[in-house]
Subunit: 337 residues, 4 copies
């Protein structure tokens, strides 16, 4: 019932887009793990705003300050000590004045209205408050650490853009061109990210409500703008016959049981088969667009058009790639520890 995830690990995300800071507490990470700070920095950089001319212009350093959870070893490296890891990020470049209007007029496609109802008018209306995409920064801090722990277990999580605006994406240039185009229209695009977990061993995941699909979904729908998820052949499997969709078992060169195909996405009965976990995640287009939109005024109780101000990505899919990796990594780590 909260911004908290995990059965074995505990991820607690806090902060609002325009509060003093945002952050995360991450508990139950094994002691003795050396954090590669440079690698974490590079991972966070992939999500960071303002790195690209098509991307949101808010410039945040976004370097997490770790308050706890580590000891320094003799080389000055951070080593987990078994205590909860906590990291905070200051919100320095927040321009709250851009959002005064949103106090009264909710942005279509955003959580402004639903938060207004849920929190009885006390919500932080500035740029989505706690429900802002900015909260994916602490999610990525936790996920970046999870990725490093998983790597030490031989498990790799990697995501990439699959589609933008309905088009299969082969290159970053192609993606950029599509985004450039829609930006010029004052509009936005959604897309699909696919993700693969390799090196996954068999037998992970629990029956019924705590299977791999259940757990990954719970984490991935924690990313704003996600509206669908599928594993393996996913929705396409619904059009297949059993004889096509079933993955035959074979014994590989090393004497291990493998499946010849991987329509199951590496998951049978909620439990990993030893094959790669594969999934695809659907993102809706960024709701903040430059075009005028129909909304309502709470105070006037009538319709009122809105032009959303501020800096917004015309397509968040490129920056969401590491966020998907982060969410999936957290879910996987929670099951393998």
């Amino acid at each position: 019932m909260a911004s908290t995830f995990g059965n074995r690990i505990k991820v607690s995300i806090f902060g609002q887009s325009h509060s003093k800071g945002i952050g995360v507490s991450l508990d139950n990470i094994p002691a003795g793990m050396v954090l590669d700070e440079e690698k974490l920095g590079a991972f966070l950089e992939r999500r960071a705003p303002g790195r690209d001319e098509n991307m949101t212009q808010r410039k945040e350093e976004d370097k997490p300050e770790f308050l706890s959870g580590f000891m320094e070893d003799e080389q000055g490296r951070l080593v987990t000590c078994g205590a909860p890891i906590s990291a905070i990020i200051r919100n320095n470049d927040a321009k709250s004045e851009d959002y005064e209007e949103l106090k009264d007029i909710p942005r279509p496609g955003h959580a402004d209205f639903t938060a207004h109802i849920k929190y009885g008018g006390f919500e932080d209306y500035r740029s989505g408050g706690h429900l802002s995409g900015r909260l994916t920064a602490p999610l990525c801090v936790a996920g970046g650490i999870a990725l490093q722990v998983l790597e030490q277990l031989g498990i790799r999580v990697s995501a990439e853009i699959d589609e933008i605006g309905g088009q299969k994406i082969e290159s970053r240039e192609q993606a950029d061109a599509l985004i450039e185009e829609v930006k010029d229209e004052g509009d936005s695009l959604g897309g699909i990210i696919k993700c693969t977990v390799s090196g996954m061993y068999a037998g992970v995941g629990d029956p019924i409500f705590d299977g791999v699909e259940n757990r990954i979904s719970q984490a991935v729908f924690g990313i704003p703008a996600v509206k669908g998820i599928e594993f393996g052949a996913g929705f396409a499997a619904a059009s297949m016959k059993g004889s096509e969709n079933n993955d035959p078992f074979v014994i590989d060169g090393e004497g291990n049981v493998r499946t010849e195909t991987n329509n199951s996405g590496g998951i049978l009965g909620g439990i990993t088969s030893g094959g790669d976990i594969t999934l695809r995640v659907a993102f809706k287009p960024t709701p903040s667009i430059a075009k005028e939109q129909k909304s309502i005024s709470y105070s006037k109780g009538e319709s009122e058009n809105l032009v959303v101000k501020g800096r917004h990505d015309p397509c968040i899919v490129p920056r969401a790639v590491p966020v998907v990796e982060a969410a999936v990594a957290i879910a996987i780590l929670d099951m393998v520890l």
Copy 2:
């Protein structure tokens, strides 16, 4: 980490396909609710096997016996008393001899192999054990009760077949014809079920990891054979522009804020908007098919073909419709209590 669901309510499902019995414990249902047993029976009947010539031939009475959680009122009706509700169903028509072969040869597309690894060879290999579709019977008992509680709150959950084998379904006859055909081939079909939650009020759901999509997904992936889920426009939203996908806010005749369209599926930022919650669930084709399939023998360590015996639905989608309602109802009830 278990066959348990819920933050506010607690659903615990137990049993194996061929154990003495299966059942469910359902805790935190409000006291004072009158159970309509006839309605529950009719609901369970929709899922029950052996009701149709195309459906699995296993005949089970499948009437739950309630051991606790109710008091009888003066008219002999069952009224919840605040104690955990428990219901058991005996497994009477289990033919375990059909499954001896599966001890050594896992069925493709089933959880036989993954359970074998997870439980170190001690798994109940008879018809999927705890990972069998049969466990959707106690899920439907819990879900049927949840549906009745929700109805008293003015909330209705209803699902229907959307597609079978890639074809849009307009009538039960059409569905039956498709299934008949594939049955004759000794093969099976998957499909898509769509579900609508109406009467839902705004402000339900929690941020980030406990949003409505996260919670419904965690429940729905508890249904065997589900490989994908989407809310509102879902995967189609990934091909839309923001100006198309955003649902404009309007004020309806009664002065309430509504959205003009419902691409969001009634959920913004994980929180309900007051519109209908809409979702679609992808089912893979039944993995048990009459055709010979490639598998392996654990004992021989080599390939071995398998013909799955026993009684199987060539398409579980029709019987899965109430199961989707049950899973969604449980998730919704867990959020509104």
Copy 3:
């Protein structure tokens, strides 16, 4: 928020004293464990009513029927298969007519009144309903299994009577004499049970809210009539000086770090030290006594004296000994798995 316990295992207890049955679901017990049914039976027998002339006269067979969670091996032994274990016990000897009066007049010292308020008058008022000591039967089924799993890990939990009615107990005869005496007075006695967990290895338990004391307390207060718990020197430590209470560290013959004394009860900072865990549990006297007591009538809104009918233990402490073992075993197992 429920009759459910466990982070790693999941114990769900259901049933009411006079419902059709009571039972338990126990999830996440490792697969491959052989259940010694005879040993479990002997354990349950220690708690069973009607075994002794001083004890409650309700005669229940109280043999659990296992519906799931096991496979039979070739010798007919029950072996865990990884699926949730479920066990039910029928309530055969329930005489509900004894309790009709309690519908209107709550018994002092019992949960009749508090359940009445909590469940808005819909509570099962017959002999405490779900809040009856009878629910310790399924707790002992779960606990008896937990004890067997722990034993395979070299961990033993054993409890004994420490005091009854304020007197140190050296023998069963002494206890029986005290109870006999109070029974003749139409009154009842409480007492203290001490419990030791031996073979416990160091490093178990989590910081702050999930330490060994926190977890054992959460389980042990699940036993009706428990009003206090202490670990190691407990309340007596509050009167000691640091130099007396601190347990000096020493290295034993095998080169292991041990403490010379064990005032800490084997727990430092919530984490086991490798010494025996020791604890004492205070039980209030059985609230059901033969003497007339002051109570009130809900319907009349005025005072009304009550003589509690039915069969009651004048002291539940002897039968509570295995229940303490069960609760502690569940808590320990939840931490070591």
Copy 4:
């Protein structure tokens, strides 16, 4: 399995005694609550070190910085906005050099050894790391907020010193004199704190494992040095007869059902009766004493005497009074929301 508490609220505590900072995330506090910062400051001041000549000499400002969870209203007051509240406190006055010796020689009565085993030698050995009493500062931030929410519901939690070193305490002077004396000896004292929750309404708490005693215990054992807890008559009830211990029901002047006595501590069957909740908590003496103590050296594998350096309270009981209030308030709030 973590430094996390709560079913309805979520308290996550992080930090180590000598890490950069400590803090807490507190989720699910209702939106719209005005925080009285002055009152919170006064509450935290009661726990703060260095305020008294008998108390630990570490001087920390210990003023929490709130990063999120609030909006400022027009008067500049902090109002909860429904987002997780997060607060951090910097560790400014940490003298880590005092603790280098403890890397190799664990302090008797502390968690140094048990953390060493649990975290495989990677533990933060500086002053107890995450298992330090310093972590009660963020616990008090969360508890101080919980107290304010409870107060708005008419519920008050107040604790006081009951005993120090085995002596009943009537005045602060008496307590100070006892502590002064033991300080001069280079030793330390424990004590007992009693706590009362008034204004509690009936019907709060859940059966079996989530009763009021279970939940309060889980929170209170989160305070370092607590070794026992009892409710109402507690251990004394074990020496009483049923006729003495049972609290007779009466109807008070306003027509409400009350108990004439309160041996139950306001809790029957784990559920509140409407009477005051009363409890007593036993604290062991501060393990850090000036006297030389027997310990061992990990590196040498042999006995080694230790004189604990640094600044330590000879009795933590006076400073623990608000900490007990904080822990109890968190547990109560988790049950009433």
